[in-house]
Amino acid sequence: MAVELADGTYWLSKCFEITETSHLHVSVYLIENDRGFTLIDTGSHNHLAEIESETREIVGDQPVNSIVLSHIDLPHAENVSPLMERWPGASLYSAAGNPATAGIPDRIFLGQGPKDISGRRYEFIQAPLADRQHTLWTYDTTTEILFTADGLGNYHRPNQCTAVSTEIDGGIEPEDIYRFHKYELRWLRLVDPEKICADLDTIFDEFDVEYIAPIHGNPIQSVDVDDYRSDLYESIRRLDNEYWEAAETA
């Protein structure tokens, strides 16, 4: 199901059932530009048919003229080829160093910094929270939506699949934020929490954010961003505490 986050920006919410009570989003986002639409990521093979049909429904006769991959990983890049077959005029953007070894078609290289794609200005940010080194977060300067790939996500409950943060009673559950980061970003247990939190702060100091739009989480509206960040930082500190508690008993 597609949820319009801002004028011309759509969240195509797709879910993967981890357990009966815990789901993982595997989303894509669609952004209208002056020549068509840009896709942020391409989703999992599990959802290809739905992604294609929902995208067709939104774009109508207009083309998907650009695809921006946050990184090369199956739940994000797996549908590049079928979607580019469906929209053969789309340009592919990625920070992957070598398309052949990354298993993607030829791409326009992305590095961090500003770039215009399909007439729209984006800022690309090297991701502080990621499971691949070449991951870029995408900031849309028009809508001030920050697309955060594998970072700033959460597991969610079965009744929250298409909810943005303000539609979730009590907000995104801190335990869902903690569990997501613990299981999806395993290296977080080895960091200095204050150092990574400070780095995340610099991003939010630099960019005004109307929405955080993760691939694996509910979109977080601006009014909830501070609470989410607080819960995230507490999660990282909790992982640090757990590491040292385990070390003491080892």
């Binding site: 090369i72 990354a102 298993g103 290289f109 961090q112 090297q126 499971d131 080194q133 070449h134 150092k195």
Partner: protein, 283 residues
């Protein structure tokens, strides 16, 4: 291309292109002298290689599958080495395409091979691993002379991830750790065979780029984890996925990475685009 590390352990290396021809450097001495003064050029002159390892014993096990660009290579190497023998186990270290992408082709060529995946989380379906045999940390496989243990991936990127340790020859398979750029004429050379030696610069260039989160590392934790690996396994050799085999001085190299992590923490990660000359095209 393949080389036997010890009898029965075959190292298969995929080498991607280097831009060394764009530099006016004729000898290894000139190359290393240049790189000493221009460390940012490691990835222009060297390459990010991919390695897979085939353990051939009473049973056989393939660890990693090379990148999608090397599907023909891995199938050819397996055919050359295994001959009419089948492949018993296929173990992608993790779900990254450079490590796992040729799994389907290999399973098609060796339909009796058992696909093995680390048990971590519940999202194996997203990675086509739903029919794999799941193994926990500590699980061992007896291949004959070789005993392979699935161990905690101490420094992972993706979630579903495993390292291996082979107990008989004491080989630690470190996947993305202990990676480094490789010069064109170093393909399938052991680290002790490198002209010009092996320096921290190489390790730094890789880890500052790939193990990017070292920029946030708690160095006490990193050092502790490395010490634990050394104490627990006492490895004789290191077999990484993105570098060459170190058949000697494994512990010395592991200790070196403590300095590498400290350098990355102090100096920051390397920018994605910094080490490569790319055509920044546009519409």
């Amino acid at each position: 291309m393949a080389r036997e590390v010890v009898e029965g352990v075959h190292w298969i290396q995929e080498y991607t292109s280097s831009q060394i021809d764009e530099y006016d450097l004729d000898t290894p001495e000139e190359v290393f002298s240049y790189l000493k003064d221009n460390p940012d050029d490691w990835y222009n002159i060297g390459a990010n290689t991919m390695s897979a390892y085939l353990l051939q014993d009473e049973k056989s096990l393939l660890f990693d599958t090379l990148s999608p660009a090397a599907e023909d290579q891995i199938l050819r190497e397996l055919d050359d080495i295994l001959g009419s023998d089948g492949l018993d186990y296929l173990v992608p270290s993790h779900t990254d395409v450079q490590h796992a992408a040729n799994s389907f082709a290999i399973l098609e060529a060796y339909p009796d091979a058992e696909l093995i995946s680390p048990q971590w989380g519940e999202k194996h379906d997203l990675y086509h691993l739903q029919d794999a045999r799941f193994v926990d940390v500590g699980t061992t496989l007896e291949l004959g002379r070789f005993t392979v243990e699935f161990i905690e991936p101490t420094f992972p990127d993706s979630a579903i991830h495993t390292w291996l340790f082979e107990h008989t020859e004491r080989i630690l398979f470190t996947v993305d750790w202990f990676g480094f750029p490789v010069l064109p004429d170093e393909t399938l050379r052991f680290v002790d065979e490198f002209d010009g030696g092996f320096t921290l610069d190489r390790l730094y260039q890789f880890h500052a780029l790939v193990v990017f989160w070292y920029q946030y590392a708690d160095l006490d934790k990193v050092d502790r984890e490395i010490d634990h690996l050394i104490e627990r396994f006492e490895p004789m050799m290191l077999a990484p996925a993105h570098g060459n085999v170190a058949r000697k001085d494994a512990v010395e190299y592991m200790e070196m990475i403590k300095s590498v992590a400290a350098n990355v923490r102090d100096e920051g990660r390397i920018d994605i685009a910094m080490n490569k000359k790319f055509d920044r095209g546009g519409e």
